[in-house]
Structures are given as C-alpha cells and as structure tokens.
C-alpha cells in the first residue's frame, strides 16, 4: 500500500509533498514573502535534523505546522512590529493578468485583514479553512484546549468577516 508516511519515503519526497502547505501557511501568517521563505527554510532544516523520527509519525504535517507556528510567533514577536512587506509584482499581480484590478485589490484587502487579526486568530483561520486541519489537530498544533478551539476558530472567522467588510467599505 502506498502511503505518504512510509518509512522509506526520503527527504526529497517529504519536502516536495509538504513544502507548499508550510510555505503557504507561513505566508498567510506573516504576509511577508521574504520572512515566509526564511521560516519555511528553517522549518525544513529542522525537519531534516529529526527526519528519522518525523517520518515515523502518522501525521508528520502536524509536526511541521507546529514548528512553523512556533517559528512564526517567535519571529514576529521578536520584530515587535507589524510585518507585511510589499508584494512582488510578478505574473500573479501583473496588471495584464485577467481582471487585474479586482484580483490585486482583493489580495491587498486579505493581506490587510490578516495583519489586523491576532497571530493566534490567523493561525486558527488558516489551519482550518485553508489547510483543513480538524479542530483536534489545530488544538494540538497551537497548544489549545480542544473544547476551546472550535469556538476560537468561530471567533476568528467572524473577526475576519468584520475586518474585511470594514476595509472593503473604506476602499469603496
């Protein structure tokens, strides 16, 4: 049976499989591509150091998310200032791209909204809605009580909605 967590899975395959989710998670946590790149690098170097153990875990992604979360929390608090650098003006943001105005405006609104949420709310929202972790997995990743996690996710959703609506009206 071919499963992702087979002991023989080598690190390249492990990296290839998990990296997009971890980098994407760190991007949504920090809204800073350089920082997301740095932290993703650090997460996978640590994974390499502990690879013999991690690859035996039934859900190695949970370990990666936990390490990535701790690195992001530590780094953002260390900087003690809001992160969020200018976005690269690449193909995805290219004005020549389809419907560029709307696409870029939405991207900027989402970025501003995420930065206004607390770090914990960003983590809750992204882990649940973008990466589909169960409430139990989120609780384990963020060191929260399982019973409180669902309610915390619910509040994060509402907070995102309120902030996004407000910013959308401000930009209208």
């Amino acid at each position: 049976m071919m499963v992702a967590q087979a002991p023989t899975e080598n690190f390249e395959a492990f990296f290839q499989r998990h990296e997009p989710r971890i980098t994407g998670y760190l991007w949504r946590m920090t809204c800073n591509e350089q920082l997301a790149l740095d932290l993703s690098q650090e997460t996978f170097v640590r994974a390499w150091q502990h690879f013999a153990t991690i690859q035996t875990y039934p859900q190695p992604a949970a370990w990666l998310f936990r390490v990535a979360t701790n690195l992001a929390l530590h780094e953002i608090r260390r900087r003690a200032s809001p992160v969020g650098a200018a976005m690269l003006f690449d193909d995805a943001n290219d004005p020549a791209y389809s419907d560029p105005g709307r696409r870029f405006a939405e991207r900027d609104l989402v970025r501003q909204t995420l930065l206004e949420l607390s770090l914990k709310q960003r983590a809750l929202l992204v882990l649940r809605e973008v990466y589909g972790l169960s409430f139990e997995e989120i609780a384990a990743t963020l060191d929260l009580a399982p019973d409180a996690t669902r309610m915390a996710v619910s509040r994060a959703r509402q907070q995102f909605r309120q902030v996004y609506l407000r910013k959308e009206q401000d930009h209208a």
Partner: protein, 522 residues
C-alpha cells in the same frame, strides 16, 4: 458560548449553531432542523455564502515563493547539518574518547553520503508527467467479494506509477480541483476519499447518506443521491449536498423528502442540475451550487430515461432524453430529446424520435455536447434482432439535424460522463451490432464535429470497456478480452492511441480484473 444572531434571520438563528452545522458538529435531529430552516431563510443562506466567499479569498491569497526557492536554501544547510538521530546513535555507542575520533570520521561519512544519497544535488523533482488514473476491480473469493484499487499510469509510456487499495464498496472515480475522488462505503459509513495527483490520500469526507454520485469543482465536493428505491440499493432521503473539500465541512444540504430518486445530475455553470423523480412524475431541477437554494424547476411531462446518456449539457443548455409517453406502454417506444435553458429552466425545443419498424423502438443516447450541438447515437431496432444505428448532431439553438452518419456498428455510450471532444474532433468507440460477437469488430473513431466526416477509424483487438479518454498526446481506452470460462479471468489492459491517425502509442497489460473507469486530471 457565541450568541451572535444571524442578521435578518426571522428565527434568530445563532452564528454558533449555523457554524456548528457547517462543521458537522450537530446531532442528526438538530442538523435536520437547521437544514429545514436554511432552506427557507434567505438571511442564513446569505451568511453561509459570505462565509464561503471568505474561505475562497483566503485560499486565493497565495504566495509567489516557489518550491525551488525554498529548496535552494534548504539544500546547502542540509549538507552542513547532521541529522540528530545519527548523532545520538554515534555518541551512545562509543566511549568518550573513541566517540570524538569516530565522530569525526562518521561526520565526514555522513556528509559525504548525504551529499550523494539523501540530498539531491539537483532541485527536487517536480511532477510534470500527466498521469492517467484507473479504477480497477478484481474478482475476489466469497465472502470477501471483489477488491478495488486506484491505479496511476505515466501517460507518456503507460508505466504503472502507483496502486492504492480502495475499500470494498467503491462506486466511481471522479476528478476536479486537481484531486481524485472515490465515493465508498465501509460498513454502514459512507464517505468520499480524496487523493492528490501522486495517489496520496489527502482527505476523507464522511457523509450521512450514501451518495453514489459526486462532482468535484471549485474546492467543493457536491454529492447527489440517496433514495428509497430498494432496487438502487440505497437508503435515506434523497438529497443534494455540498462539502468543503479542504476542511470536510458541510456547506449546504438540500433534502428532498418527497422525492423517489435523484438521477443523472451535472454542474452547469453555477448550478447543479439533475432529474428528480417525484411521486407524480419527473422534474428537472437546478440548485445554486454556492447556497443550495433551488434556482428553478421544470416539469418535462414525460417519463425520464434514467439510463446512461440521458442527460447532457453545453455552456448554457441542458439536454435530456425522455420516453415518449404515448408509446411507452407499447413495444414501439419512441423518445424525446429536449433542450432547456440552464439559467432559467425554460424549454427551448423538443424533438420527437418515432419508432420505425413493427415490433421494436428507438433508443437515443447523448454522447457529448458543445456550444454548437448535442451529439447522440440513435439506435432504431427495426425488429427484435436487427437494428440500425446513426451518429447524429443536433443544433443547440433549435434542434435541427446538423449532420447524421449511418453506422453499421453501434456507437458505445459511456456509462459515466461523456465522450471527449478535442480540437474539433469527437472520439467514440463502436462495437459490432451482432450480440454474438461483441468484440469482433470494435473500433475507435475520430469524427469531425462540424461535418460528421470520419477522420480515421482504428480497429481494436479487444472490447473497449471505458469511454475514450483524451489526454495531452493521445486517447486512452480501457480494454478487455472476455473470459472464455472455466475460471479464467478477464484480461484487461490500457491502450493509448495517437489523436492524429489512431495508431498505437503504447499498451499496458494489467493483472486480471476489470475496469470501471479511466480518468485524467483536468
């Protein structure tokens, strides 16, 4: 407890209850109560729709950092870093003095080996090969029954890339959202298994009702099914439902307690459209895919043909095949082909196919549709043993016959989905009309969709058991040589053909079994 009320809800539904319903955390009785409320409450549906839009916004907020960017920075550090477990093993197994000496040697060895073996000197391989995927059934002994697997094949040469065992009750294989989906049942628990392009299982979505039909689109798994007809081996009230394919959360559910069955549904534009058999006759109905609200309902007023090839759609038109009620009660049955506006449910045209001959009828099956025409096979059974077949195109706008090609063989209608149209060419298979030698003269045909001209016809050496599948460089077919009896199983294989002339690209024999479906990722 979050007691915020949904704005505008006449029954003061709380946000907490609605989100618990969406996350599948309510007891069945309370969930049903919420579903009844949602079906009538515009405010709650609007809240759920906004919620889903927020989720989609977050998912679209993607980084431009590439996997290569990260790997380029991880790889040099791997060369300088000894994995912790190796280091601990070294220290634990030697004296302090020897450890120091051996560590130097092993450290160098580890670095050397890791540079050559565990760490690629080149960037990580990126999946560039397009895979073909097959749902394969293999005969099993009593009482365990047949076994199923999801197989992946390299489309360039047909090599088997992976084989993933599946649960014993597996219905079909669907694709969408860069994912593969397999609806299954284990014991009494129905669920949908989701796999990525490399055959890794990514998710299991548990659903309350057995849904034999699934569509994956726009990050959502749409389920349709459940019926009270014992003949269909299902149970539970028929329902349409949508689940988030990432979180497994239920987005909406629309129960149809009075319906007998739901059959043959499609996602057309923004709506989920299908046949619903009500006690007093069939209705063609459309549900908004975002909210689950009913968009429109049409009453075709005739017996709906529930078999394969009975519904099709182009960009803005839905086509259905129906029995002619005036002839249904006799052996001389005729059929209707009707076209409905997919946005409003208004019937655009209806075409009648009268039976010819004296004792049998006419059978119509939809093969495919595009913005210009709907492509059908029309089989006239002139007597109980003889039939004539036509491949025909009927204009989308008014139903007039654009072209018609008489065929001595029967064009095969797919049991799942439609035959492919690519680069202005329709690809179909045909089998000899004689029931005594079904594989004697099977062929793969390429037909010009504008003129009906047969561009090429390639004889097949075995019976095609899947619909033709178009992929980047060819057409793939699941083939089967039927067992000759005596316990000898069917021999199955996948064959790929060039789209330009029908010549063989490759053939991959498989261990004995039978095909259920062949798909690729869009």
């Amino acid at each position: 407890m979050n007691s915020t009320i949904i704005p505008g809800c006449p029954e003061d539904m709380s946000v907490d209850t609605l989100t618990r319903w969406r996350d599948g955390l309510l007891a069945a009785s309370q969930a049903q109560s919420v579903e009844r409320h949602i079906s009538t409450c515009r405010a709650c549906r609007a809240y759920l729709e906004q919620y889903q839009q927020d989720v989609q916004r977050l998912r679209r907020f993607e980084t431009t950092v590439t996997q290569q960017d990260v790997w380029n920075r991880v790889q040099p550090r791997m060369r300088r870093t000894v994995p912790a477990q190796r280091m601990r093993a070294i220290i634990a197994g030697t004296s302090a003095f020897l450890a120091a000496a051996i560590m130097v040697a092993l450290f160098a060895t580890v670095l050397h080996n890791s540079g050559k073996k565990n760490v690629a000197s080149t960037p990580p391989p990126v999946v560039t090969t397009l895979h073909l995927y097959a749902l394969v059934q293999r005969a099993g002994s009593f009482p365990s029954g047949p076994t199923y697997s999801l197989n992946g094949y390299d489309s360039t040469n047909g090599h088997n890339a992976f084989t993933h065992p599946l649960p014993s009750a597996t219905f079909t294989l669907v694709t969408g959202n860069h994912m593969l989906g397999v609806p299954s049942i284990q014991g009494a628990n129905p669920f949908l298994l989701l796999f990525d392009a490399n055959g890794h299982q990514t998710k299991q979505i548990s659903v309350g009702t057995s849904y034999p039909d699934v569509v994956l689109s726009n990050g959502t798994a749409f389920f349709v099914g459940g019926n009270t007809d014992i003949a269909h081996m299902n149970s539970g009230a028929p329902a349409f439902a949508a689940y988030d394919a990432t979180t497994s959360a239920r987005i909406w559910q629309h129960n149809l307690p009075n319906a007998r069955t739901i059959d043959n549904f499609l996602l057309v534009g923004h709506d989920l459209i299908g046949n619903v058999e009500m006690p007093d006759g069939p209705v063609l109905t459309a549900f908004d895919s975002t909210t689950g609200a009913q968009a429109w309902q049409a009453t075709p007023g005739a017996f709906t043909d529930l078999g394969s090839g009975s519904i099709g759609a182009s960009v803005d038109t839905v086509f259905i095949v129906q029995y002619n009620p005036s002839t249904k009660t006799t052996l001389k049955s005729g059929e209707y082909l009707s076209a409905y506006d997919a946005a409003t449910g208004t019937m655009r045209w209806r075409k009648t196919f009268a039976p010819q001959g004296t004792t049998a009828g006419v059978q119509l099956q939809i093969l495919a549709a595009d913005q210009n025409a709907v492509y059908c096979t029309v089989i006239n059974s002139t007597t109980s043993t003889n039939s004539t077949a036509q491949l025909a195109a009927f204009a989308t706008n008014d139903g007039h016959a654009v072209w018609s090609v008489p065929e001595t063989d029967v064009i095969n209608a797919p049991t799942n989905g439609f035959v492919p149209i690519a680069n202005g060419t329709l690809f179909v298979t045909s089998s000899a009309a004689s029931k005594n030698s079904p594989s004697a003269s099977s062929s793969l045909l390429a037909v010009n969709v504008q003129t009906g001209a047969i561009l090429w016809q390639s004889p097949l050496t075995a019976t095609p058991v899947t619909a033709p599948l178009f992929f980047n460089t060819g057409i793939a077919l699941g083939m089967q040589t039927n067992s000759t009896g005596g316990g000898i199983p069917n021999q199955v294989s996948i064959m790929a053909f060039r789209t330009t002339d029908g010549s063989t690209l490759w053939k991959t024999p498989m261990t004995s079994g039978s095909f259920m479906q062949l798909v690729t990722l869009p």
